[in-house]
């Protein structure tokens, strides 16, 4: 019985998120457009996440390079280090790690902010003043997440590759020209495009789930905590699910 109720709760939640997403597409492209709030959110989501994303990407690139070297050396393939690290970062690690970091930072912040606005009746106040809170709060945040995540991923990839260059030079000498030549010769269209396209979906998932959890937060301060927490958990899970689907689609299209 409990199992059945949990299953029905899960299906209800999936249904509600789908309806919320549907509302986003219905409302998002109709005027009035909230340009100033959209730019403000782009600044908060994009620019203010940059230090965290940058540091993570730097460490990720350096560690991956340092840890891969012994294995490659064992097979006499140390010269493939830049190429291997580049493909790993651009195809998978860069997008997924950046998205997970953003799910933690942005997803929780959106969930908590909208949750506390709901609890303190700020969303109702906005509605009563004749402003559509869905357009002002949800549409702007989801679009900002969707637009900013690919940019953050590209920057994270760049920083990760630079850190990898430092890692390569920790035990050996590789010139910047040789390094970049090896990196760009190893990367193809099928490495870059699917990885970039999926980041839009990652950003959309982080935005829509964070907003959904906050917008429908239950009354009370406990509800705000739950909204922030579940926004991170569900969006992180969604990132892996989307990644899995993206790999399958790329495989079907021959882009692997």
């Amino acid at each position: 019985m409990a199992k059945q109720s949990r299953r029905s709760e899960f299906l209800t939640e999936v249904g509600n998120i789908s309806a919320f997403t549907g509302k986003f597409f219905r409302e998002g492209f109709k005027p009035r457009y909230e340009w100033s709030e959209l730019f403000r959110q782009c600044y908060i989501i994009g620019y203010e996440s940059l230090p965290l994303v940058g540091i993570t990407a730097f460490i990720m690139g350096l560690v991956l390079t340092v840890q891969s070297r012994p294995t490659l050396e064992e097979f006499g393939a140390a010269s493939y280090l830049p190429a291997m690290v580049a493909v790993s970062i651009v195809r998978e690690i860069g997008p997924v790690i950046t998205a997970l970091i953003c799910a933690g930072k942005i997803g929780s912040s959106i969930g908590a902010e909208l949750g506390s606005m709901r609890v303190t009746e700020q969303i109702d106040a906005m509605e009563v003043s004749g402003t559509n809170p869905f357009k002002y709060l949800v549409v702007t945040r989801v679009i900002a997440c969707t637009m900013m995540l690919p940019i953050l991923v590209v920057l994270a990839d760049g920083i990760g590759l630079y850190a990898s260059y430092i890692g390569v030079n920790l035990k050996g000498i590789v010139s910047w020209n040789l390094y970049t030549t090896q990196v760009f010769e190893s990367l193809t269209f099928s490495d870059v495009m699917p990885a970039l396209v999926k980041t839009y979906f990652f950003g959309f998932a982080i935005g829509i789930i964070g907003c959904y959890k906050g917008y429908f937060s239950n009354k009370g301060t406990e509800g705000v905590g739950i909204a922030a927490n579940s926004a991170v958990v569900v969006s992180s899970l969604m990132i892996f699910v989307i990644d899995l689907i993206a790999v399958q689609i790329a495989d079907i299209l021959g882009l692997t």
């Binding site: 902010e113 506390s116 606005m117 303190t120 009746e121 700020q122 109702d124 106040a125 906005m126 509605e127 009563v128 003043s129 004749g130 402003t131 559509n132």
Partner: protein, 246 residues
């Protein structure tokens, strides 16, 4: 003006339930132009639900709720938003936008509805609204820097900035000390006199009801129980009314 034209809000046999909890069971109300109507009732009796139905934050399960003769549930979103500009709603928690300064809070409704106003005109309106509630000095503060009474006043200023014809107050004095509560009550009367607003005040604070009410309506068990002036109800021998005035 006929008596029908004099009525700005009307509810007839209003029913609203939340699951098994039947909050309003056929509530009737009429708010006349220019009057302050206090709705008294115990906590959880459905007073806030009632005024939320009047602005379309909640929709009734049955019955009629009309504002200026327009039935709220039948309005389109655009019509409802237009009607809402004529209604001010002071929330129990004041509901100031946390991430904005007092000035931005007040500018928010102005910039969205009166977009033709210049920066100077907007600034003038903001200062005037703050002067009306005696808080000009708070213009650049954040909501977190304000006391409970100040938050209520700023909430009121934000609501009044669009010069609404109807004011709905949801427990305006709850959580305030008696002196500040009295100040807010006096402010409600001053607003009625200055802007000729028609108001519904939801409260269980008898001091507030005494100061602001032209009429008092008692809500018991989801129904209109009794209507009268403060003095009439205070002198009533009805055992259900007496506890309110004890």
């Amino acid at each position: 003006m006929s008596s029908e034209e004099n009525i700005v809000i009307r509810t007839e046999k209003l029913v609203k339930s939340f699951g098994e909890n039947h909050v309003l069971k056929g509530f009737d109300l009429e708010l006349n132009r220019g009057e302050n109507l206090v709705v008294l009732g115990k906590s959880g009796s459905g007073k806030s639900v009632l005024i939320k139905c009047m602005v379309g934050l909640l929709y009734p399960d049955a019955g009629v709720v009309s504002v200026f003769g327009k039935e709220i549930p039948k309005l389109t979103q655009i019509e409802l938003d237009q009607l809402r500009t004529k209604i001010g709603f002071l929330f129990q928690s004041s509901a100031l936008y946390d991430s904005m300064t007092v000035r931005e809070n007040l500018e928010f409704p102005l910039r969205r509805h009166w977009m033709h106003k210049s920066k100077e005109e907007v600034n003038e309106l903001v200062i005037e609204a703050l002067r009306n509630v005696g808080l000009e000095r708070a213009v650049d503060l954040m909501p977190s820097e304000l006391s409970g009474g100040m938050r209520k006043r700023i909430g009121l200023a934000r609501t009044l900035i669009l010069k609404p014809e109807i004011m709905l107050y949801d427990e305006p004095t709850t959580g305030l000390d008696p002196i500040t509560g009295r100040e807010i009550s006096n402010l409600i009367v001053a607003i009625q006199e200055k802007y000729h607003t028609s108001s519904i005040i939801i409260t269980h604070d008898m001091e507030c009801a005494k100061i602001v009410a032209n009429r008092i309506m008692i809500l018991i068990d989801g129904l209109k129980y009794k209507v009268g002036t403060y003095e009439e109800l205070k002198n009533s021998d009805d055992p259900k009314i007496k506890p309110f005035f004890a």
